[in-house]
Symmetry: C2
Subunit: 298 residues, 2 copies
DNA sequence: TGCGCTGATGACCAATCGGTATCGAACCCG
DNA sequence: CGGGTTCGATACCGATTGGTCATCAGCGCA
């Protein structure tokens, strides 16, 4: 049962006149007659009663008209649906992010994406870098918002944001009395660091900064993530270096200060499989870059 | 969106392999690749991610697979449905009959048709000849079971059954004492007749019989139909000539007797439009003739 | 009875489809 | 890391199919 024939049949059934149906279909009358005849012989059923000058549908014809309209309408809807998915206006996108991205631009990016593509279902999940890498490679997620970036042959990474580091101190710390703190002046403080694996880790990053400033923290404490680090700082365990955006979340017992000294900052990046061509992905990248650009301007 | 392409796409989507899909479809691989590419460009959407050796469906592809299966299955069901209608195994048939057919073969014909074609919806209605003629010509009904037949250029009529006439008498009638009654012996009885219009009417038919027997009933009473006639007979108004099958319905106060004399009987016929080619009609005719033939045999 | 309308049919041409041969990229394996 | 293998894409050719134009045949109407 060819689709074209169904369209032709519906036209004839609606016009009840081959000539008019043909002109509605923008074809000549003979091929229309032939296609209908072909359809009838395919089905082995008369669909149109031509015994009079005014043609009429048989019972089979009436039922087919109903079914054909239904099918054609479904195909039409499907066409539009597919097209919207193909343009990234519908469907779903799975995004994972490091916990520390929660305070910075990411919420704005999400908000912007949602309002630009309200019919795209966003599946968000928090993961650390290692989990992100695994998940994005295994296609469990489409985009990883990582810090600083995921490095893999299969992946592409593009920078989203560069932000400076900032010092997190207990709000009872005597260090708060000074206006500016030189990093090297803190060499005897206890530093809250981060897991060493996988290399290169954010812990290495911090230690390198210290090295640049000419010292190695004598006392080190490990925390799983920034949240834990800040908690440790708040109870007076020590000091920590965190991305500036983390300071946006006020926390009792913690104060933030800029410091003097080597500050290479830290980067947020968008990571995805090289072979992932889905439009939603590119739309998300675009929206994210736009949000960052707009946020930096004013 | 060509239907063939949908079938091809479903095959590829299910096999996730062009070669296997092609052999399943019994075509070569190149045309399959081309048809899929064509489908994609028609829709303006990538449906299959070919970036790896193991191909995979895109989001749009997944949705299309679902929709395409649905549509193809609907078309398949429609195909079967239409075919059944075309063979007369499904659909509906509108039959009208004269009231006097209620007692004879008609119930058996209906029963036989229902059991042979249980999915055909039978619409039955009682009509007199004039109504039947109008209705069948205007296509409000498909078959008219008439007595004796409908005569019209547009119609075809085929005999269903020939049955003798029988005498209906009051069960208190002294005529019952004789074994056989000669019709001409009843010339002074009151005859219950039937409407004279439209000509030739059943009244004319009865009067002709009397004429053949050499008399004209002196006393005549009119009844709309056989039921009324029998009622009149039961209350002693007079006697009536009715088709033998009418006597199958026992009625208090009425007795039936064969008579001696001219008995041309009366016919039941099946009438339908010449241009009505619907299979249900022919199936009905066949079943009706079969029932009559079988009933006559034993 | 002839004319007009309508759908069917036949001849011919163009577009589409499927087949074969071949290519090129990715993957596998030693 | 290089050669063979696998798999989808491309190029080209013949066959099928769909379209146009011209014409025919049946029915209704004057």
């Amino acid at each position: 049962m060819d689709l074209r024939r169904l369209v032709y049949f519906v036209a004839v059934a609606e016009e009840l006149h081959f000539g008019r149906a043909a002109s509605r279909l923008a074809i000549a009358q003979p091929p229309l007659s032939r296609q209908i005849a072909q359809l009838e012989s395919d089905l082995g059923v008369m669909l149109i009663d031509r015994s009079r000058s005014q043609i009429r549908l048989t019972q089979a014809g009436n039922v087919l008209l109903e079914r054909a309209r239904d099918v054609l309408e479904r195909l039409d809807r499907t066409h539009r649906e597919i097209k919207r998915i193909g343009e990234g206006f519908s469907g779903h996108l799975r995004v994972a992010f490091v916990g520390s991205a929660t305070y910075g631009v990411l919420p704005n990016v999400i908000k912007a994406f949602r309002s630009a593509y309200p019919d795209v279902e966003l599946a968000l999940s928090a993961m650390n870098n290692a989990e992100q890498k695994r998940a994005v490679i295994q296609r469990e997620i489409d985009i990883a918002v990582a810090r600083p970036s995921l490095d893999d042959e299969e992946l592409k990474s593009e920078p989203l944001l560069q932000e400076p580091l900032i010092l997190a101190l207990s709000d009872t710390s005597p260090l708060l009395e000074r206006q500016v703190t030189r990093l090297s002046a803190l060499k005897s403080e206890t530093f809250v660091l981060y897991p060493r694996k996988p290399r290169p880790s954010f812990a290495d990053h911090i230690l390198n900064i210290c090295l640049e400033e000419g010292f190695i923290p004598k006392s080190q404490v490990l925390a799983q993530d920034y949240q834990t680090a800040i908690s440790l700082v708040s109870v007076g365990v020590g000091i920590a270096l965190v991305p500036k955006s983390v300071s946006q979340a006020e926390r009792p017992g913690v104060a933030y200060r800029a410091y003097e000294g080597h500050n290479p900052g830290t980067a947020l990046s968008l990571n995805y499989r090289r072979d992932n061509r889905m439009p939603h992905l590119f739309n998300f990248l675009k929206v994210a870059q736009d949000v960052v650009r707009r946020q930096r301007k004013p």
